[in-house]
């Protein structure tokens, strides 16, 4: 059997942890090979070794049977290996085209030759259906678009082996469908793809084989066609996962969060949220569903005080918080799991424990006369780490930057839920989490609800929306266009509302 790439007995250690312990992975030409494992299992690390970002302590890499040494990403590139990282690596104030050619610019007498590059990029994007505007700035385009740029970057470099590290975590369901199709096309052309994801149905859909890791060790490689989703998840977690969510009956109580006529933007910018009103009551999970970019982010920023509002009123437990500072809103019982964990959620250069007290370091439990109580902070952090199973190399002292993406997310979720909020605003709370962690977070959200707390969930994940919410509000172009009951609504109906094809005739959403 010929393999394009073989990673044999790879071992990679980090302080306090063996991220990859004697792992062997063989990639066939033209196959889509999935890599599955819990958060922190070592998937990104293994791929970074292949891409030359880390040097393994032990093990060899072979390309087409010949042993190769991959010292840095340039060497990987020369071997035709490209990677789309879990957190994109694009220059935000460069254009799409500039980002694509960065590092492999064609020059003539030392001057950039953009025309050739442009022709190539345009023809590549036509051929693979990756439509992008080559002159748009990265900071102005959606995450889905940014990902296309990352894919084009690999294709522009004529890479034959393509690594996708959790590409679908940041995409909308529509974009995921498109990506799956693109990946199949690429594989059909003879490119070999390594694909990391936590979503087992995606593996079922596109992958030929799947390698499973657990806690840095290899569990095995299976043919996807002969393995069920349940079997794969059991291989990965080591126990059976309960996919069905059990919801107790809770009678909603008093209103906790009331939003009245909220409008964001307008004077100088486009109106992104238009006259939105709704209420979230005690013991209720209300979900805002919608296609990405329809005003969800702005709505959340307005509620949490990160962005000023144009008009309207926001109340928590009857108290007007419209003009309160972020700190005061938190004190009124508002918690926020943000959309972008690196931008808002974490101070990446702080340790895990410092990040876990980011919202409460100033309370008397953790400080006295302005001096931090490190002992208390450490105890609290260790308690959250145990409760939420946050895995990292050096426990509470681990620098957040070095943690795996899913464990970073778990840290944020732990911090926000443990504040014991009256209203939890959770944006994509399970993004990038493994099935076990998702199960746990869903249980936590439901127990919030049972305790009579309110949850406002913003999610692009339709299964999640249907499974755990009590009411669904659909947002379209900044307006709430419909309210659905997940018990009776169908996915088709929801999709129709989200695409703007239908709206409730109602004067006020309650």
């Amino acid at each position: 059997m010929d393999y394009v790439i073989e990673m044999l007995n790879i071992t990679k250690e980090f302080p306090g942890i063996i991220a990859n312990d004697n792992i062997t992975l063989q990639l066939k030409k033209g196959e889509i090979h999935a890599l599955l494992g819990e958060n922190g299992a070592g998937k990104s690390t293994l791929m970074s070794v292949l891409f030359g970002l880390y040097q393994p302590e032990k093990g060899t890499i072979k390309k087409e049977g010949k042993e190769v040494k991959i010292n840095d990403p340039n060497a990987a590139n020369a071997l035709g290996i490209g990677m789309v990282h879990q957190h994109f690596k694009l220059v935000h104030n460069f254009t799409v085209l500039q980002n694509i050619i960065l590092g492999v610019e064609t020059t003539h007498n030392g001057l950039l030759r953009m025309d050739d590059a442009r022709t190539k990029v345009v023809s590549l994007s036509k051929r693979y259906g990756l439509s992008v505007d080559p002159d748009a700035l990265i900071q102005d385009i959606t995450v889905g678009m940014q990902q296309r740029v990352e894919i084009l970057k690999m294709l522009y470099r004529d890479n034959e082996i393509l690594i996708f590290d959790e590409p679908t975590a940041v995409l909308t369901p529509q974009e995921i469908d498109e990506l799956m199709k693109i990946m199949k096309d690429l594989a059909a052309e003879g490119k070999s793809i390594l694909f990391i994801t936590h979503k087992l149905n995606e593996i079922k859909e596109v992958a030929d084989r799947c390698t499973v890791l657990r806690k840095g060790k290899l569990v095995g490689t299976v043919d996807v066609a002969d393995t069920s989703i349940e079997q794969m998840s059991e291989m990965m977690v080591g126990r059976k996962i309960d996919f069905a969510v059990e919801k107790a009956d809770v009678e909603p109580g008093e209103p906790v969060l009331e939003v009245r006529g909220l409008t964001v933007g307008g004077k100088h910018t486009k109106k992104s949220v238009k006259d939105v009103s709704f209420t979230v009551r005690k013991g209720e999970i209300v979900c805002i569903a919608g296609i990405d970019g329809n005003g969800q982010s702005e709505l959340v920023y307005a509620l949490t005080g990160l962005q000023p509002i144009e008009k309207g009123q926001i109340l928590i437990n009857g108290k007007d918080i419209t003009h309160l500072s972020i700190r005061k809103r938190n004190a009124e019982g508002m918690s926020h799991i943000p959309e972008d964990r690196h931008k808002h959620g974490l101070v990446l250069d702080y340790s895990l424990e410092e990040n876990l007290v980011l919202k409460c370091y100033y309370t008397p439990i953790f400080q006295k006369n302005g001096f931090l109580k490190f002992q208390k902070i450490n105890e609290y952090a260790n308690c959250l780490i145990a409760k939420y199973d946050i895995r990292s190399g050096q426990g509470a002292k681990t620098i957040a930057r070095s943690m795996s993406g899913g464990n970073q997310q778990k840290a944020i979720v732990a911090r926000e839920i443990d504040l014991g909020p009256e209203i939890l605003i959770a944006v994509q709370p399970t993004r990038g989490l493994d099935v076990g962690a998702i199960e746990y977070i869903h249980k936590q959200l439901l127990s919030q609800r049972e305790e009579g707390k309110a949850v406002l969930l913003i999610s692009l994940e339709l299964d999640e929306v249907m499974d755990i919410s009590d009411r669904i509000l659909v947002i379209y172009e900044g307006e709430i266009v419909g309210e659905l009951d997940p018990k009776t609504a169908t996915l088709q109906e929801l999709g129709l509302y989200m695409a703007g094809g239908k709206r409730d005739e109602r004067s006020e959403a309650i």
């Binding site: 302080p15 302590e57 949490t304 990160l306 500072s325 972020i326 700190r327 809103r329 938190n330 926020h336 943000p338 931008k343 808002h344 959620g345 974490l346 101070v347 990446l348 250069d349 702080y350 410092e354 980011l358 919202k359 370091y361 100033y362 400080q367 302005g370 001096f371 931090l372």
Partner: protein
């Protein structure tokens, strides 16, 4: 081997080693320049630089501490700003404005009772330095003007303004220097005069060093800054803003206020440095009122870099740079032209400041070497 490996994993050890390696590299580079400029006396010259302050006995060591005092403060100024995510290139302006405030009060406000006179003068230096940095701080926080640009401009404004103010208020035109401050405004010796002097003949007369309790103040301030940065909620907030402004805002920290405060504190430190240097009596430094930016301010940058912005590290790096600078001055006893001396000293200082670079490379290099050696050993054992 294992011990060495363990040591390598300790951050503090790594940092100190990298600074020391950087210093050696700087010295080597300086030696090369010595060789180029004056080959026959290069070795002698190098020895003089190495002997630094020791060349002239007890007084020399005192002078090292005296000149290290303002460097500790400007180093803290740059380092503190850096830890909170700001580049304070404006220590020169803050320093000289603080210096003027101190000298002005030292000369003119003789109505203040003796034990308080120097304290008030120092306080004024601190406040004026802080105010001088307030402007770039506000510009950064509210108008997003980059602090590098605004602090550089404030340097020139500060220099010309201080010269103008000195010349029009406290200038001694005969000596072309600022006037001596009143006796009550001179910092007390704090016992340092008992240690740092050179005896003259056998009569018991002494040639005293200028060092005074300003050095103690600098040490105390460094320790305070260390505590503020590492132990308090205030430091936690400022550092969080430096690392990630968005996340700080999200956490409810007033990030604009933090930027302004960081800048003001940095300025206050540099201003205090100005006060400490110039409140030192007739034998000490005086403001020259010439159109040159204060070197103490700029040298705060290499001091902070070499100390890796750690307040305690900064104490040592300031002493080192003061030591080497004095050593350089003694080069004049050989046939070195003053300009070349400046070049050599600047090379040693700035080359050493590449410590940051070494910090990242050194552990990797060492680890790689050791791993290679280990593998060889293993193979050998098989």
């Amino acid at each position: 081997m294992i011990l060495l490996k363990k040591l390598l994993n300790i951050r503090g050890f790594n940092n100190a080693t990298s600074s020391i390696v950087a210093i050696f590299a700087g010295l080597l580079f300086g030696f090369i320049i010595l060789l180029i400029s004056n080959p026959s006396q290069a070795v002698d010259g190098f020895i003089i630089i190495l002997k630094g302050g020791f060349s002239t006995g007890g007084k020399g060591m005192g002078q090292v501490m005296y000149f290290a005092t303002p460097l500790i403060l400007t180093g803290l100024s740059v380092g503190f700003a850096f830890k909170t995510g700001l580049f304070n290139i404006g220590a020169s302006g803050q320093f000289i404005m603080g210096a003027f405030a101190a000298v002005y009060i030292g000369v003119k406000w003789t109505f203040i009772p003796a034990p308080f006179h120097w304290m008030v003068a120092l306080l004024a230096a601190t406040i004026v330095g802080g105010l001088w940095a307030l402007i770039p701080g506000l510009l950064k926080a509210y108008l997003n003007v980059h602090e590098v640009i605004s602090t550089i401009m404030m340097n020139y404004i500060g220099m010309y303004l201080a010269n103008f103010l000195v010349k029009s208020t406290v200038y001694d035109s005969k000596k072309a220097l600022s006037m001596n401050v009143a006796e009550s405004a001179v910092l007390p010796k704090g016992g340092l005069d008992k240690i740092f002097y050179n005896p003259i003949g056998s009569s018991g007369a002494v040639d005293l060093s200028t060092v005074n309790s300003g050095f103690y103040i600098a040490l105390v301030v460094a320790v305070i800054m260390f505590i503020v940065l590492n132990k308090t909620t205030f430091g936690y907030e400022l550092k969080a803003c430096g690392f990630n402004q968005n996340a700080s805002k999200y956490a409810g920290i007033n990030e604009k206020r933090s930027i302004v405060l960081s800048m003001v504190i940095a300025g206050a430190l540099a201003g205090l440095g100005g006060g400490l240097l110039y409140l030192s009596g007739a034998s000490g430094r005086h403001i020259k009122a010439v159109d040159v930016l204060a070197a103490e301010g700029f040298n705060g940058i290499p001091v902070a870099l070499l100390g890796l912005s750690n307040p305690i590290g900064i104490i040592f790096s300031a002493i080192f740079i003061s030591y080497i600078t004095l050593g350089g001055n003694y080069l004049q006893t050989l046939n070195f032209v003053p300009e070349i001396i400046d070049v050599i000293i600047a090379c040693v200082i700035y080359f050493s400041a590449f410590a940051l670079l070494f910090r990242n490379i050194l552990p990797r290099l060492l680890k790689w070497r050791m791993d290679a050696a280990e593998i060889k050993n293993e193979r050998g054992n098989e």
